[in-house]
Point group: D2
Chain length 426, copies 4
Amino acid sequence: MSIQMIDQEKLANEYMGVRSFTERLVQPLNMEDFIIQSMEDASPPKWHLAHTTWFFERFLLKEFLTDYNGFDDHFDYLFNSYYETAGPFHPRIERGLITRPSVEEVFAYRKHVDKYIKELIMSDSMGEMGDEIGSLLEIGLNHEQQHQELLLTDIKYNLSRNPFLPAYQRNECNASEPSTGPVSFIEMEGGLVEIGNNGKSFCFDNEKPVHKVWLDSYRLAKRPVTNDEFCAFIEDGGYKKPQYWLSDGWSTVQKNQWEAPLYWFKREEEWYTYTLAGEQQLNPNDPVCHVSFYEADAFARWSGKRLPTEEEWENACTLQTIEGNLADSGKFHPQAAQHTNEKLFLQAFGDVWEWTKSPYVSYPGNKPYEGTLGEYNAKFMCNQMVLRGGSCATPASHIRATYRNFFQPEKRWQFSGFRLAEDIHQ
Amino acid sequence: MSIQMIDQEKLANEYMGVRSFTERLVQPLNMEDFIIQSMEDASPPKWHLAHTTWFFERFLLKEFLTDYNGFDDHFDYLFNSYYETAGPFHPRIERGLITRPSVEEVFAYRKHVDKYIKELIMSDSMGEMGDEIGSLLEIGLNHEQQHQELLLTDIKYNLSRNPFLPAYQRNECNASEPSTGPVSFIEMEGGLVEIGNNGKSFCFDNEKPVHKVWLDSYRLAKRPVTNDEFCAFIEDGGYKKPQYWLSDGWSTVQKNQWEAPLYWFKREEEWYTYTLAGEQQLNPNDPVCHVSFYEADAFARWSGKRLPTEEEWENACTLQTIEGNLADSGKFHPQAAQHTNEKLFLQAFGDVWEWTKSPYVSYPGNKPYEGTLGEYNAKFMCNQMVLRGGSCATPASHIRATYRNFFQPEKRWQFSGFRLAEDIHQ
Amino acid sequence: MSIQMIDQEKLANEYMGVRSFTERLVQPLNMEDFIIQSMEDASPPKWHLAHTTWFFERFLLKEFLTDYNGFDDHFDYLFNSYYETAGPFHPRIERGLITRPSVEEVFAYRKHVDKYIKELIMSDSMGEMGDEIGSLLEIGLNHEQQHQELLLTDIKYNLSRNPFLPAYQRNECNASEPSTGPVSFIEMEGGLVEIGNNGKSFCFDNEKPVHKVWLDSYRLAKRPVTNDEFCAFIEDGGYKKPQYWLSDGWSTVQKNQWEAPLYWFKREEEWYTYTLAGEQQLNPNDPVCHVSFYEADAFARWSGKRLPTEEEWENACTLQTIEGNLADSGKFHPQAAQHTNEKLFLQAFGDVWEWTKSPYVSYPGNKPYEGTLGEYNAKFMCNQMVLRGGSCATPASHIRATYRNFFQPEKRWQFSGFRLAEDIHQ
Amino acid sequence: MSIQMIDQEKLANEYMGVRSFTERLVQPLNMEDFIIQSMEDASPPKWHLAHTTWFFERFLLKEFLTDYNGFDDHFDYLFNSYYETAGPFHPRIERGLITRPSVEEVFAYRKHVDKYIKELIMSDSMGEMGDEIGSLLEIGLNHEQQHQELLLTDIKYNLSRNPFLPAYQRNECNASEPSTGPVSFIEMEGGLVEIGNNGKSFCFDNEKPVHKVWLDSYRLAKRPVTNDEFCAFIEDGGYKKPQYWLSDGWSTVQKNQWEAPLYWFKREEEWYTYTLAGEQQLNPNDPVCHVSFYEADAFARWSGKRLPTEEEWENACTLQTIEGNLADSGKFHPQAAQHTNEKLFLQAFGDVWEWTKSPYVSYPGNKPYEGTLGEYNAKFMCNQMVLRGGSCATPASHIRATYRNFFQPEKRWQFSGFRLAEDIHQ
Ligand SMILES: [Fe+3]
Ligand SMILES: [Fe+3]
Ligand SMILES: [Fe+3]
Ligand SMILES: [Fe+3]
């Protein structure tokens, strides 16, 4: 989401647009579904609804709206996620133990904050402090969009722990596209390139500044790896051969007894997968999804290729139009690529986040946000890997070529896949 | 609950009486409160509602009602608690991850099973197989009463994990009774006594058979230990001095950093406790509650006394009238004893379960139930201690002098206190 | 060990006899074998050598020998096992991290303490305070004998963790005895019996006082269960059928994936076992050994019998001569029973400790030792089960009919087996 | 260690030089010290002695020496560290449970392998396959040098777990150097630079190839951070303020209750540290040592600077002479920097390894070793951070400017410190 000029009316509409999309996402849920946290990573939907609201209340209303009274004194404790400098907060692992406030009260909280945010947007403060407020609003809305994706991935994980695999929504099963044939690689010329976001439209602090990076020439796959290709890895004993795996990856495979991506299961010799529309037979041409960095990396080694760096990815996809199977489609499941003879990267945006081989670190010369929001991104720059390009659960207005997503290398509950790269040997 | 003769109408009424009491207990809950499991021991209320119903469906309807169809095929898996011989079941620790079936569906399940149970009770089968059905119904109803107590203790624990300590119900705070003064001990003459239940009215398999036990003469406290007395132990450094503790108890204290009974907390130098009516200041004359066997045993050693054996308890209280602060009062919190000069045991029934020094083992010559119900009690006869006398959460019709409750020695979330005993030295 | 009269010379000899047997037991070890602790239960041999010495230094020399100086200031911390009231001590789980003092220094420590103990025994103090000193010496020697058994079981466990199964000593493999045929049961008449030790010769505090117990008539197996019989349980799927197991036992089986007693392994369809003489093929007629209480109890349930109570065991074996395959034989492995037509219990003493169905609790009217030694036995009276009769690693002068050994129900590294019992139904 | 030309005699001498240095390092140990493993990271000295030997046996003797018979069949299992493709190996965490082979046998193993390696070096094979053998020998010797450092750090950690802190060797305490005053920063001009090793003399696979990297201009501290400076961080509450820490770092601090670097402890308000010469008072001017990446990073944030990248470090120190307080000095403890007015980096080599802000990943175009040795470095390229420059435990002939050491960000038992850097803002 990017806000180009401070047109108050338009801003209020954008605000309400993002906020109501969140509420549309939880429409299919039972009251009971709002409450549970089935692993530390997967927060209860109720918590997401309240936390994103708290973000606006805490960083906007309490800072800029004179005489604003907090909706409830307990919420600063309950719905602060991890901002140490904003005060003490409820342990992440106990989010699923909180039955009060009720779901209804959380919806009332949203209504309350929405009312005052609109008041703030329309107020005269937007004259004097419009830039600061506008920029915090942008952060708040992008923050909410990140939680929209998390809502979907957390709901999916939560429901998947029910042995009878209830569906979140029933939509038509995606018909299998014909295979696009073996993947081709597009050659990219190296050199001294510029990476990062110039900040003319919205971006997070971790995408800045624009900086020079030397890249050797390389080849990048036209499309992500498919289920079919990943099955070949499995059938070749990929999960049983330590030589393909990083040492930490191999320990993870052993400890968790992984034999396939998350949500895959076999019934009568056929692979099935759990989707937000319930279980379905695995579609061979869909991009493989719900794999960890370790699995992506092992597959790459098995196939004699490698993962791209985040700079290679950005350099290759920067001119690509931002379109694809994103959250706005409402499918919430990756789709098979459509064949094309054009020399362009398919599914660069949407379908699956793409693991890169780049650890998540700060760009040279980077400055985190000032104050409490400095904790937003910077403190996670360790033990995580960068993913690029958005997924079928990412709002279209939220993604861009410079966008850096990041997760620990063993995480699989996001819509995460990957695309191969290779060196050009002189 | 005991069923003396098979009067079908009366039986149906008793059935409905027990069943509706369960539903009354969950009346004060929000929909959200039904779902969570805040520790392995504390099951979600929804699960209790369904599991007790499954018990009737599985052991009565599916066995005796011709052409009965199960309400839902998944329920055998989801709501079997631990009966290995009845088929596979959902892991106990994951009960809080199940949002479907909804609470509403579980209430429909109850209605459905109630309808058919009543049909079964009124049917002709009650002629031929009345004894067997009647006896299983009795077990089912007593089972449901056990879960009524668990509902209360689990709800209490679940709500207590919310940092803002919501109340389950708002009832008038119990006014403090005047202290009964220092506890007195009543002398009981020893000899060869009979312990156990003759089975003339309902009892569980673990209470049988009546068997001879030799008891030396002993003294038993007139009333349980009070908060005030327990505070003296705390103030004397009881939780910091290993010499009062069993080795396993001391490890437990260290590991969990216990400094007081469960639910106690200090605010401005005063002790408070969480109750089902919310937090309240500690009433010094109430029986101490929510202590583990380890704490009871350490207190006893500190005070130069000991806990009674279960046989001493039963021998002393067997002639006591079954009345007291039981679940029927709706207070759900122990109350101070009322002074009396009579030579009788106060609060033998109700208020708090009383830890004994007896490990839970089978009585000589005991036979567990036949078949799957053999798993009801017998397989827990290891690493648990016997408690006697019922609590403020035990239905009055459920308790008797021979009743054996049992928990692991470190458990504290039940309404558990204790009464002291001592040897008579010749 | 029992000391009848204070004959100083004889006492000094007894002392040296026990002490030198300990040193004989560690003769076959490499220096390296003295150091390691392969699980929390299995202490390093060096630690046993030092701890038993510390016991004499701490409770005798420092109390009764004027001007005695401790051998090393650090040893009170390092070699106190668990006596909280004797001061802080090194965590049990870290005993295997202590390389200094060296083994040589520990032998010097033993020599030093031996010298002064002999001095104390021969001194005039033995006149005035002979009773107290003599009784502490007896405790110290019996304590050392307990550690002699632990030395053997801990050495066995430590060496067994080496994948190449080194032998502690090479002794001739026991030739298989002909089977004694199916086990027979001897009927014991019930009634009011006396249990416990009258203290005329040495016993531990936990064996006292003599007290009355009512026993119903019962039958007790003539000999312990054999490997052959236990194999039948395994082959019948005993480790896979929850119906035979206590709930805690079943969890233990699942968690540890037990499929046979400790030290058993299969090679080309044949059962082998690790012994202190290295691996050997399983001898079908030997008593089954290295089983937990859970396995003993499950076998009993599978076979339609039960384990005896400790009182039944004591009542039956009290008149049996104390002889058998005890540590003095140097075999350190149970042997097959020799057939006899006499109506007596075979292998009551030696071969394998016999699990009973009795939890370890204090006898009625029992008084623990005064002072720090009160921690010797009493604080373990929770979550443990009683074993009777001694094993092939128990010194003959250490065992008696009233002797109560105790371990947690899941422990298997002791030489533990069991004997069946059954009710007599009128 | 680098081998320039194949002079057989010289090669044999170099081999023996490295091998005998290992043996010199374990000279001060008791037999008992060789056995223990006090945490998963810290292997027993005996294991290091055997594993480095196995490396030569496995990758040289068994490959190139005709008719060579392994010294012991079990050693492939016991002393393979982590080479999955070389066969199964003993779990790392159980290295401290292996008392056989004895230390003596391991020394015999070393002698045996040394004899045959010398035979191989002097043999005619060195004609035909000299390059391959020579290059494997170089790897083997550098491998042994890495384990020389690990021997020292593991011995230090093992001994430190003894509550009485025994010394490894008694050497004169380093006299405190006068402080060099506040640290100064040297400006380095940026641009397109070359990083990595051209392979003309020995380097590991992970240092190759030489590749272009763009660096912005930066400043690098003349010397590492000192104890004195680190104390200021502690006194300012550095370990209590989450704002200075990465999120994972803060969790680590909380979980382990870190309040100072490893081996530091306070006595009567003074800081002491454990060294290989026993405990000593903290020398304020020594480089801070035994800090994790998290602590280095938190200190940098607190001080308003940052850590350098590995490329900045290499670019700055590449022309520095390789001299300093390295293992050859035998001090095994970092020393205070000596003041100088010259514009050069003090202590670039030796004293302490310097954490960089660079995650350990492969260089662009990098190729791991072929075959099993491909597991040497490449599989650890995840979740680890690069350290540069060697320490007081690194052999001088082992270090160079391009050398990349790597450890997980929470590890502290290596001699690890850090040097600050900062951006130059245009
Ligand atoms: Fe957030
Ligand atoms: Fe139940
Ligand atoms: Fe001991
Ligand atoms: Fe190595």
